[in-house]
């Protein structure tokens, strides 16, 4: 079998002559330490990275093209699989964008549930990022602790949404279903487990000499570079700038919650680790406040433009039958126009730019993915560092393939 296998990419730089002593090393796209599938072509001088050429697109699944072929409602599973580590945030951001176009105000209970579950999902995302990063540095125990904790969160979310990883729980106009009985009690148990496990991680990592040596002053990103390269989220906050959409222009129920926005000092890997750990603590604090403030009421707005009618009515009334049929076959009709709606995803500003022509199917949906933009700045953080620093730096960027490549 000697058929030539084509190379899907073209590197930005060609191999230099041998006597230079420089070597071109290809990292990825199938690599244990590139979380998600990304190719980094590096030019090395010994162990030092001179140039890095980052290639993504190995998980491009045609999300935006699929969006033009399905109804607004049927896109919710596709949107889930963008940032699959915190799938609920994607659901709610997309549904929020469509609701903004339609002028729908979701119910108070739905708003609080979205806030609570969004923060819960954010915890799962940060856990995954930190666990993977620690595993790459050799800290298997920390990885296993965090995976155990994340599994508790997954099982718990499966109780309310029905799935562990990609939930499809958001709906245009609210959420799919209400919390089952005993869910809030189990939530308190999971948060107690969180405190136990994260306490262990703090003990193992925070002042661990090896960890600090490998992460401090590695992968430094200055604030000016971050702003120029469009960096948002924990990466921007690690450079010292306290920009967080939840605080600056609150949406959902964030205006009613009390929380801090943690920032770093140097913009290096260690700061990103600390910012994510602190953000998880803030998320837990917010979740507890949400539980206290959770109002009673329906979880879906009573608007025939988006809400499927009650099944009993569908079987007995012709209007409800037609409404149900139209919503499923044609999709909810979104008025013509466009909007850009963004929320604070786990990686930064997750934006949806949607264009509608008044139909039940979108004309254009574009996802502004923070991971994709952060891939544009990765080479800045890698160049000048060591080859061994490529792995922790890349891990701290938290590139999620589904979001980066869409």
């Amino acid at each position: 079998m000697d058929m030539k296998i084509p190379n899907p990419v073209r590197a930005a730089f060609a191999p230099t002559a041998e006597q230079d002593g420089r070597v071109i090393v290809n990292i990825g796209p199938s690599h244990p330490a590139t979380h998600g599938t990304v190719q980094i072509i590096t030019e090395l001088d010994g162990e030092r990275v001179l140039r890095a050429d980052v290639h993504c697109g190995y998980l491009h699944r045609g999300f935006e093209k699929e969006c033009e072929a399905h109804t607004w409602h049927n896109l919710i599973p596709y949107v889930d699989r963008l940032n699959y580590c915190s799938a609920l945030i994607n659901d709610f951001a997309y549904c929020g964008a469509v609701e903004q176009m339609m002028g729908i105000e979701i119910t108070p209970r739905a708003r609080m549930l979205r806030t609570l579950l969004g923060e819960y999902s954010r915890i799962a995302d940060h856990i995954t990022c930190i666990a993977a990063g620690l595993m790459e540095l050799g800290a298997m125990t920390a990885f296993l602790y965090l995976m155990t904790l994340r599994d508790y969160i997954y099982e718990h979310l499966a109780d309310v949404t029905g799935a562990r990883v990609t939930y499809s729980y958001g709906r245009i106009g609210g959420v799919a279903r209400d919390l089952p009985e005993g869910w809030l009690k189990r939530l308190e148990e999971v948060l107690a487990e969180y405190e136990k496990f994260i306490g262990r991680i703090h003990g193992l990592m925070d002042r661990n000499r090896i960890f600090v040596d490998r992460m401090r002053r590695v992968g430094v990103l200055t604030q000016a570079q971050a702003l120029s390269y469009g960096v948002t989220g924990p990466m921007l906050r690690s450079t010292g700038l306290a920009r967080d959409i939840r605080k600056d222009t609150p949406y959902l129920a964030y205006a009613d919650l009390d929380f801090e926005v943690p920032t770093g000092i140097l913009g290096d890997n260690y700061d990103r680790y600390v910012v994510r750990m602190r953000e998880m603590d803030e998320s837990v604090y917010m979740i507890r406040q949400c539980v206290d403030l959770l109002p009673a009421g329906p979880v879906m707005v009573d608007d025939p433009r988006v809400a499927l009618p009650d099944k009993q009515l569908v079987y007995s009334e012709i209007e409800s039958l037609i409404n149900h049929f139209k919503l499923v076959i044609d999709g909810p009709r979104v008025p013509a126009g466009e909007t850009y709606y963004s929320q604070e995803g786990a990686n930064g500003e997750l934006g949806f730019y949607i264009v509608s022509t008044g139909e039940g199917q979108p004309w254009r949906v574009h996802c502004r993915a923070p991971s994709f933009v952060h891939m544009g700045v990765t080479h800045v953080m890698l160049e000048g560092g060591q080859l061994a620093d490529v792995v922790p730096t890349f891990g701290s960027v938290n590139m999620i393939g589904g979001e980066c490549d869409r």
Partner: protein, 176 residues
């Protein structure tokens, strides 16, 4: 020497390996023993691309633990692994990479298609996604799910183990 003076015992060729009927009991026992050894010492190459990777991490961790099946220790080089677990969507950009990795693995090797995207393209029926990795590599076990629950993955691994146990294991090829 004429060929008619040779071979008075009838010989069957199966999979290129000449088998003598009266010696079947030895080859069957050999297959069973080798199958038992191979099925409990799988070295997976986790070719992780997408969301299924989350469930792969979960199934490899403490609560579900593939280590008790002997299938947890990943070898991140195709030269040292025998089980290619294709976890997640494979798109056309990734396809050459997948093919190269599969060809770099030595025999015996098996392939698990983990998740519906690897099985059939999932619900991404468009220009970017390969509609099932069996268009590129031969697959032994398909694990459906989007993503599959860890129990489903374990069931898939056990089915692969059954398949390996019943397989004919070629130690010496006929042309050795």
């Amino acid at each position: 020497m004429s060929t008619s003076a040779r071979a008075t015992i009838p010989i069957r060729a199966e999979g290129g390996v000449p088998k003598v009927p009266t010696f079947d009991v030895f080859t069957t026992k050999k297959d069973e023993i080798v199958g038992w050894a191979r099925k409990f010492s799988l070295f997976p190459y986790p070719f992780v691309t997408a969301c299924c990777g989350m469930e792969f991490m979960s199934v490899s961790s403490t609560l579900y633990d593939t280590d008790r099946f002997g299938a947890a220790l990943p070898r991140f080089t195709p030269r040292q692994s025998d089980l290619l677990m294709v976890v997640g969507t494979i798109n056309h950009k990734q396809a050459p990479v997948l093919q190269r990795i599969w060809e770099q693995m030595c025999e015996p090797k098996w392939v698990i298609a983990f998740g519906v995207c690897a099985t059939s393209g999932g619900f991404y029926d468009n220009y970017a996604v390969v509609q099932g990795i069996d268009k590129i590599v031969p697959v032994d076990v398909y694990i459906p799910g989007c993503p599959p629950r860890p129990e489903t993955v374990i069931d898939g691994i056990m089915q692969l183990q059954d398949k390996i146990a019943k397989q004919h294991h070629v130690i010496l090829k006929g042309d050795f």
